[in-house]
């Protein structure tokens, strides 16, 4: 099922068609909001196949990267208290204001990398005398698994809830006017949960074409092609190129579990101001699992590291190689910002494939 979505001949024809349409357009700035799209685009060198006036930029689509320095400091404070902290591996090296989770671990803190929240809850179940806190990050793709797990989690388990929802951030980005986006490639696996509905108000408000796309090279190329076609015809819609996974209504069962456990809240994203309604917090009935309340942690917001341009990367204002310290002061073994740490981060991906992303 996958090889057909990598077919070279079809890709070439799609690129020819893209070039053809681009001739009728001034400039097309297309933003994606998913780290996995950035990976596909850079891995397959898709930018080099596009005509000069078609630009694909990455937005706030890496969950590790949009997590704020303050949230990292909260995670570190929990580990410093002697609690068992579980995290996805990508978070380990992200610098907080003074340290990282990896640094705490090196000093003897009990920080453990897990593949899923189920593994984290299992550690809690097997160690009933230990408090286990999971750093719950991720967009709508990940939030349902946190919700499902909390419905049966043991009492010594809790989460530092850092979940965020994507469409509100896209809205803020367009409203701010900082960056002019002509079309969005919408994130396939966020959309698998939320469906098409939440994107429609954006298209209505800003007249911006959007295509939900999968993660094979042809998915991305046709996503770009469909956006350019809409631009050419002056028609903005939300199209779904990834119907093999994304249904119009999303995944109702996952949405129901999410709604049972979470409610929207206002939260700051790295590089952004507070975005109203773009976070998820635990409802009152689940507050026993809220690590912030349970352990009463209060850390000051000390902003993000000096010299780091991750905020501008996440807003689509600069490319990784335009950050003055990219590959010099900031590299995967000595990262300054999260975009160089996460496998979904634009800087880490650009570094790995050694390309100008």
């Amino acid at each position: 099922m996958i090889t057909e979505f990598r077919d070279r001949e079809t890709a070439k024809k799609a690129c020819d068609r893209i070039k053809e349409i681009a001739k009728n357009l001034d400039h097309a700035k297309i933003m994606h909001v998913c780290g996995t799209h950035e990976d596909t685009i850079t891995r397959y060198g898709i930018r080099s196949l596009l005509p000069e006036n078609v630009e694909v930029i990455s937005g706030p689509g890496c969950p590790v990267c949009v997590t704020t320095g303050r949230e990292i400091d909260e995670a570190i404070a929990l580990a410093d208290k002697g609690l068992t902290v579980t995290t996805f591996g990508d978070m380990l090296k992200v610098p907080g204001s003074e340290n990282s989770l990896e640094g705490v671990k090196a000093k003897g803190g009990d920080v453990r990398v897990v593949y899923s929240i189920t593994d984290a809850a299992r550690i809690a179940a097997e160690n009933p005398d230990t408090d286990v806190v999971h750093i719950a990050i991720g967009f709508e793709t990940t939030a349902p698994s946190t919700a499902a797990e909390l419905k049966t989690a043991p009492g010594n388990f809790s989460v530092l809830c850092c979940h965020r929802t994507i469409p509100n951030a896209m809205d803020l980005l367009l409203s701010s006017g900082d960056v002019k986006v002509n079309g969005f490639i919408d994130p396939g696996h966020v959309s698998a949960i939320i469906g098409l509905g939440p994107y429609r108000p954006l298209t209505e408000k800003f007249n911006v074409p959007q295509v939900i796309a999968g993660f094979e090279p042809l998915d991305v190329l046709f996503g770009i092609l469909l956006i350019l076609e809409m631009m050419e015809n002056g028609k903005a819609e939300v199209k779904n190129e990834y119907s093999r996974v994304v249904k119009d209504e999303g995944n109702p069962r996952a949405l129901e579990i999410m709604n049972e456990v979470f409610q929207p809240c206002d939260v700051r994203w790295r590089g952004f101001p507070i975005i109203p309604g773009s976070g998820l917090e635990l409802k009152e009935e689940f507050s026993q699992y809220d690590a912030r309340k349970k352990f009463n942690i209060k850390v000051e917001d000390r902003g993000e590291p000096a010299g780091c341009r991750c905020g501008d990367i996440l807003k689509g204002l600069i490319r990784p190689d335009e950050c003055p310290i990219f590959g010099k002061g900031c590299a995967p073994d000595k990262p300054v910002g999260p975009c160089m740490v996460s496998s979904e981060g634009a800087c880490a991906i650009a570094y790995k494939f050694n390309k100008n992303a």
Binding site: G35, C62, F88, V245, E344
Partner: protein, 74 residues
Amino acid sequence: MCLAIPAKILRINGNSAEVDFGGVKREVKLDLVDAKEGDWVIVHTGYAIQTMSEEDAKETLRYFEEILKLEDDN
């Protein structure tokens, strides 16, 4: 961590299942989907988040062809 990949369900045990990621076997949770043995699912951080339809994949490929054919005809 955002990565979500397709896997085939081998065996269902209650609300979890043994799945096959192209040779690598793993246990995943099924709380979020309605799926049966033999189905393809998209798995993200240990949970199946949606089923994947082979029929729709073929449909998409046909749609791609159609778009490109229009170009050839022009």
